[in-house]
């Protein structure tokens, strides 16, 4: 087990390297260091000297990946790619291109992202499971048909509509929550309730259907039939057997996305003015802040792989039949 985890962790390295190379290539195919400098320096009265000065101070005056003026290992080391990448593997993300400390920014912006993501996940899963169980319980009745139709309808509406409609109805017409904004601590409650409710509702359609298929598979198994034959009521069967046995795929499905919750939601955060990591990434892309883009991609892929690993481990924990090798 330990051996396996270690091996998987080692596997992370080449993936991260690949991710890093890809980000680097994609970014610099499009932007030159000159472009970045001009973006940061603004519109008015920008001279080439100022651009060169900026590049020199930020370390973007080196060649991109191969330094012809140097020999041996130095030809690789004295490059933008090498100098900017090494720190990442030691989680030293450095300064952003506009001079702020990235780690400090991330540790500050993480909390609002989590404040939205965690309640959305918990309430979302609970709502989806409840809805799916109801669908199973009312199998074959018009309530199931209606419920399924509601699911498909909810799925067919673009996420943007939910946000626009939610802000318009609840924030503006009914004046029940602030339209957007954020505050730390307990004050956050009134700001996150609308995004969370919208997140839960917009995910209900597809989520409930997914859980429904899980439950259906489980309900078709022989032991369920036996349980029913024993005289257990339908509700008892659902909760005692179907739900319990379906917990394995449910849990592992949740575990894989847990680490990614840190990354925040891009659209929700920018619509609701929540200063989280999702909007951090988008802002960085639009202001072409390479240092932040690179760090966030790196962090994102790292968390993704951790998620995969956690899933594998959780399989063995909940189901002793699965062995890792």
């Amino acid at each position: 087990m330990i051996n396996y985890i270690l091996r998987r962790l080692l596997y992370v390295l080449p993936v991260l390297l690949g991710v890093n190379i890809l980000t680097f290539v994609l970014f610099f195919v499009v932007n030159s260091p000159d472009d970045m400098a001009r973006m940061q320096l603004g519109d008015k009265h920008v001279s080439q000297a100022a651009v060169n000065n900026w590049k020199q101070q930020r370390g973007y005056d080196l060649p991109l990946i191969w330094n012809q003026q140097q020999n041996g290992m130095l030809a690789i080391q004295k490059t933008i790619f090498f100098e900017k990448s090494v720190g990442l593997f030691f989680l030293d993300l450095g300064l952003s291109d506009n001079g702020r400390d990235i780690v400090a920014d991330i540790s500050q912006r993480m909390w609002p992202s989590l404040a939205i993501a965690i309640p959305s996940l918990i309430f979302g899963v609970l709502a989806n499971i409840t809805f799916a169980l109801l669908l199973i319980f009312y199998r074959g009745s018009y309530l199931e048909f209606g419920g399924l139709f509601v699911c498909i309808t909810l799925m067919s509406i673009s996420g943007l509509f939910y946000i626009i409609a939610g802000q318009f109805l609840i924030g503006k017409l009914l004046a029940l929550t602030p339209i957007s904004g954020y505050a730390p601590g307990l004050e956050a409650f009134k700001f996150i309730i609308l995004p969370v409710v919208i997140g839960v509702i917009s995910g209900l359609g597809s989520g409930a259907r997914w859980y429904r298929t899980l439950f259906l598979e489980e309900a078709a198994k022989d032991y369920v039939r036996t349980a029913k034959a024993k005289g257990l009521s339908e509700l008892q069967v659902l909760f005692k057997h179907v739900l319990k046995n379906a917990m394995v795929p449910i849990l592992t499905g949740i575990v894989v996305i847990l680490p990614l919750l840190f990354m925040g939601s891009l659209i929700t955060e920018s619509f609701f003015g929540i200063p989280g990591l999702g909007s951090y990434t988008i802002d960085a892309i639009s202001s072409q802040d390479f240092a932040i883009v690179r760090s966030m991609v790196f962090l994102g892929s790292f968390l993704y792989i951790i998620g995969l690993l956690l899933t594998d481990i959780s399989y063995t924990l909940v189901d002793p039949r699965v062995r890792l090798n």
Binding site: P14, V15, G18, V19, L22, T23, L26, F27, V29, V30, N31, I152, T153, M155, S156, I157, S158, G159, L160, F161, I164, F168, E217, M263, L266, I267, S270, T281, I282, I285, S286, V293, M296, V297, G300, S301, Y304, I305, L308
Partner: protein
């Protein structure tokens, strides 16, 4: 006058022809026909398929582009060439009747008051009459309701007649002339078509006189925009899968079948790729396209060219980012299949590996491919809207629902609220995605072997 097709147009036609060929070939194989029979037995399946086909029909019309030289207003033959799609020509009065700014659905006056001089030369702060909509009415306020109802009824009647003509024509040429021979599917399809025809007839009869869904900020008919956006939605939904399928199938099967280092490399590839946030890849690709277009301005002389290039690129990059899911599925399935008895037997008999892949493995994973394609379609249509919101979607000059929603965010904040562009985008998008989702459901039920028992 000649055809002038864009890149995506060629691909749309290639796709339509390809799919038709596939259907024709599949219709001869019993095992392929069986699940489709199941689909055609389901009312939901047939209705949603009919709706989808009507959308596709509009999309194809919109992809048939004709270049011609219109006459100038002074009668001289112009030197300008104009490129219009067949759909544009069909929608001509709606397309060309452009007001100055916002107007409500079925309105005959503008949406905001303007300073106007009346005949006496007195300036007044009033709602201006529209240039086209309701212009045929003398006293619009009194006559309008009557007029709209009359025109709508006429339209429905027109639609009905067209439908009748079509049905009679089909009956005349088909063998199933007796009542009994007509299957449930055919009847369902006919009734759905009746509704679609009636709606189309209504639009055709009202369109030249009113803006059925109002006009936007620069006075363009919203209905026209919504209809034009259908093509964009379809192209994104279908071309993306076209890009994705070959990669996903090839790599998925190889990884599962050959195992060993091939498997390792492919797994590494998709883990790496799927761990990068997709938004970033798309943003980078769109920026790259812009750089390319900025460096090669001669290749893209018209707005359509540029928009088309960006659309194509968006499809490609979406395809490149979305193959990982299907690839993983196929790999797992192939791993199972290669241990099956018949594959073992074929191997023992010395059948070539490629032969086995083609004959035994591929047909047995086709249901997964089928289900993924249909399921992904609606997701992609929805994704387009989100991407347009962060400005990395289709070109702003391309008609798309995403662009419509993006603009309408500002309009929602108006007071009185301008709701119709958002509503129009919502209705059309909802219709397409709902039809696609319902159809996907039916297809999954029909193809999923687990559901068969």
């Amino acid at each position: 006058m000649r055809f002038s097709l864009l890149w995506t147009d060629y691909l749309v036609f290639a796709l339509v022809i390809g799919v038709s060929l596939l259907i024709w070939r599949a219709s001869k194989k019993q095992h392929m026909v069986r699940p489709w029979k199941k689909v055609s037995d389901s009312t939901v399946g047939v209705v949603s398929l009919t709706v989808l086909l009507s959308f596709v029909f509009i999309g194809v019309l919109d992809s048939t582009r004709i270049k011609y030289k219109p006459n100038l207003s002074n009668g001289e033959g112009g030197a300008r060439t104009e490129t219009l799609s067949v759909l544009d020509i069909v929608l001509t009065p709606i397309r060309t009747q452009v007001e100055t700014t916002y107007s409500m659905p079925f309105a005959h006056t503008g949406y905001a008051k303007e300073l106007l001089k009346d005949e006496q030369g007195v300036t007044q702060w009033v709602y201006p009459r529209l240039k086209y909509a309701g212009a045929h009415l003398a006293s619009a306020v009194n006559e309008k309701p009557q007029d709209i109802i009359t025109k709508a009824v006429e339209g429905v009647f027109l639609g009905f007649m067209c439908w009748l003509a079509l049905v009679v024509l089909v009956l005349f040429f088909s063998k199933a002339r007796s009542h009994k021979a007509r299957s449930k599917a055919q009847k369902n399809m006919a009734y759905t078509l009746l509704i679609i025809f009636s709606l189309a007839g209504m639009v055709a009869s009202l369109g030249p006189y009113y803006h059925v869904l109002g006009t936007d900020k620069v006075g363009e008919d919203v209905l026209y925009q919504a209809i034009k956006s259908i093509r964009t939605g379809l192209v994104i939904g279908t071309l993306t899968t076209l890009v994705m399928l070959p990669i996903a199938i090839a790599l998925g099967l190889m990884a599962g079948f050959f195992r060993g280092w091939v498997d390792d490399v492919i797994q590494y590839l998709y883990t790496t790729l799927s761990s990068i946030p997709g938004v970033l890849l798309i943003a980078a690709a769109i920026l790259m396209a812009q750089v390319y277009m900025a460096n090669n301005p001669d290749l893209f002389t018209t707005v359509d060219d540029r928009g088309d290039m960006r659309l194509l690129l968006l499809c490609m990059i979406l395809g490149l980012t979305s193959w990982t899911g299907l690839c993983r599925l196929l790999r797992a399935e192939t791993l199972k299949i290669r241990e099956m008895d018949y594959v073992m037997a074929a191997r023992a008999l010395g059948v070539g590996r490629m032969q086995i892949l083609k004959r035994h493995v591929l047909p047995n994973v086709m249901h997964l491919v089928m289900i993924t394609v249909v399921l992904d379609f609606s997701g992609l249509v929805l994704a387009e809207a989100v991407l347009s919101y962060i400005n990395i979607g289709v070109d702003p000059s391309t008609y798309s629902w995403g662009n419509m929603i993006n603009t309408s965010r500002l309009e929602m904040a108006r007071e009185p609220i301008v709701w119709w562009p958002l509503a129009a985008a919502f209705i059309f998008m909802f219709a397409l995605v709902l039809a696609a989702n319902l159809f996907a459901d039916v297809v999954r039920d029909a193809f999923d072997p687990r559901e068969n028992n």
